[in-house]
């Protein structure tokens, strides 16, 4: 589904990614975990076509998508829920959801999928006609995911879906992600919240300083000393 090879990204003289290799198979949930500044968001922004890499390749569905515009990638089945959610605050919840379907033209299918995401996140149904900017943080996160799903993505990229949310909301968001996987969606999720990500994902990559420090099945990574070292560096603190 997704194959990233030797991806390098610079912002001026700052190196964000120094040769990252990641692969995601169809139907998998893969987590990329790592501390702030490890390059996780840069990775997702590069895959989605917002950031142009210095070197390396990104293959989606078997073809290189490097240099393609974000709107074209969205139309070919890639959806990114960025960090900070980026919902359109001055638009209504309904309009935000409808914007997710921008690449599509099948009215009936869009209406059916809108019903589906409203069933998944009933709170959005209650607030369907309200300004999205008036939603709480958790509701905005649900809206951002719902909006992304409306494009019927093959691959969903989630950037820090639990950031700044109450534990109960985080559980709700992750329940939705599990449910989506049941329906065959492939997910690449970036997280700082280690336990949450490892519980949700089949496999995980640990990123640090713009490079992959470790990779493995979630169950194998959890609680190992090597994992702690990779995630926290040399200092041994307990996991958050």
């Amino acid at each position: 589904m997704l194959a990233i090879e030797n991806l390098q990204v610079n912002y001026g003289s700052i190196v964000a990614l120094r040769g990252v290799d990641i692969s995601v198979a169809t139907g998998e949930i893969v987590a990329v975990i790592g501390p702030n500044g490890a390059g996780k968001s840069s990775l997702l922004m590069t895959i989605a076509g917002v950031v142009k890499p210095k070197a390396g390749d990104v293959k989606f569905d078997g073809r290189s998508i490097l240099g393609e515009a974000p709107e074209k990638l969205a139309a070919s089945g890639l959806a990114l829920v960025p960090e900070g959610r980026h919902i359109f605050g001055s638009l209504s919840v309904a309009e935000n959801i409808a914007l997710g379907a921008t690449p599509r033209n099948d009215r009936a299918g869009i209406a059916a999928d809108t019903e589906k995401v409203l069933d998944m996140f009933p709170v959005l149904r209650d607030r369907f006609r309200q300004r999205a900017g008036n939603l709480s943080g958790g509701e905005q996160q649900m809206l951002a995911i719902a909006r992304a799903l409306l494009s019927r993505p093959k691959l969903l990229l989630l950037d820090e879906p639990s950031l700044g949310l109450a534990p109960l909301i985080v559980k709700q968001v992750y329940d939705a992600i599990y449910a989506l996987r049941q329906q065959g969606l492939t997910v690449l999720v970036v997280e700082q919240s280690v336990n949450r990500a490892l519980n949700a994902a089949d496999r995980a990559y640990v990123m640090s300083g713009g490079a992959i420090a470790m990779v493995g099945r979630s169950s194998e990574l959890q609680g190992t000393a090597a994992f702690d070292a990779a995630y926290f560096g040399s200092s041994q603190r307990s996991r958050a």
Binding site: A74, E95, A98, L99, T102, A148
Partner: protein
């Protein structure tokens, strides 16, 4: 009675300013470009009407609308699309360049002297209504402006591309991530600004009966002031700012001491500076409108 008369004057002048300000505000909200060449769209509209003189009025008007819209699209395609990733100051300078280029092309072709055009001159007559004498042109200006604004509101609320443009105005990158085509929303914004500019041309030519290569300059300055007063990036603000500047201009014209009236615009801009000191972000934009 004189108060109501002045109010009608103010609203009709304000509605034209509002149309011009909307054209500027529309482009700014989508791509953070302050398009000073907007005045040249208005000016070229005037010259199209001049060049089409002798044809039926409706043909003159439609040709002006079509040519100005195409010119607006051409500006975007040739001058601004290659600069899309440039900073706002670079875009602003580019718009100055486009503005001078168009102005001087017209100057070279038609010369510098204002030229008379007979366009809708019958509208200079007044209609009597409840003791008021209102020039027909003013009534039509108000009605047309209201119709265009209602049309814009419906377009932005009800059409898919309209909603996409509102989304792009708020967060362009996120809109693109959802599949909104950058080229398309920007082109539609320029087309709309061209249509708005051409209606300002129609009004100016009908009102003054002349065209000159400088006729857009004053209008674009006032439109810019109006959109800043309303708050750059807010379309409602741009319209509101246009009406306010119209009301202030007409009030000054009516109530300033006789000997100061020739300097009316100086007072308009003085008030503008005072306004900026009080509320630099404009009326309808919250300071630090950071999204969380």
């Amino acid at each position: 009675m004189i108060v109501i008369q002045n109010l009608i004057d103010a609203i009709s002048l304000g509605s034209v300013y509002a149309l011009a300000a909307l054209g500027i505000g529309l482009i700014f909200s989508i791509m953070r470009l302050i398009n000073f060449a907007h005045g040249e769209l208005i000016m070229v509209g005037g010259f199209v009407i001049y060049a089409m003189a002798g044809n039926p009025m409706i043909v003159m008007a439609l040709t002006a609308i079509i040519v100005v819209t195409i010119l607006a699209l051409g500006m975007e395609r040739i001058a601004f699309r290659p600069l899309r990733k440039a900073s706002p100051p670079t875009l602003l300078i580019a718009s100055f360049a486009v503005s001078y280029l168009v102005q001087h092309s017209i100057l070279m072709t038609f010369g510098s002297r204002p030229m008379g055009v007979d366009f809708l001159s019958g509208l200079g007559e007044s209609i009597e209504f409840a003791g008021l004498r209102v020039p027909l042109l003013q009534c039509i200006a108000i009605v047309v402006t209201v119709a265009l604004m209602v049309g814009l509101v419906v377009f932005f609320r009800a059409s898919r591309i309209g909603v996409q443009m509102r989304a792009a105005a708020e967060d362009f990158t996120m809109a693109r991530l959802l599949g909104v085509k950058a080229d398309r929303v920007i082109a539609v914004a320029f087309a709309l600004s061209g249509i708005l500019a051409s209606f300002v041309s129609l009004y100016l030519v009908a009102q003054t009966g002349t065209v000159s290569y400088k006729m857009g300059v004053n209008m674009v300055l006032i439109a810019f002031v109006a959109s800043v007063i309303g708050g750059m990036g807010s379309l409602t603000g741009a319209a509101l700012g246009g009406f306010l500047v119209g009301i202030v201009s007409v009030s000054l014209q009516a109530y300033l001491p006789e000997e100061l009236r020739p300097y009316r615009d100086a007072f308009v801009f003085l008030l503008f500076i005072a306004f900026l000191l009080w509320r630099p972000q404009g009326l309808l934009v919250r300071r630090a409108s950071e999204r969380v």
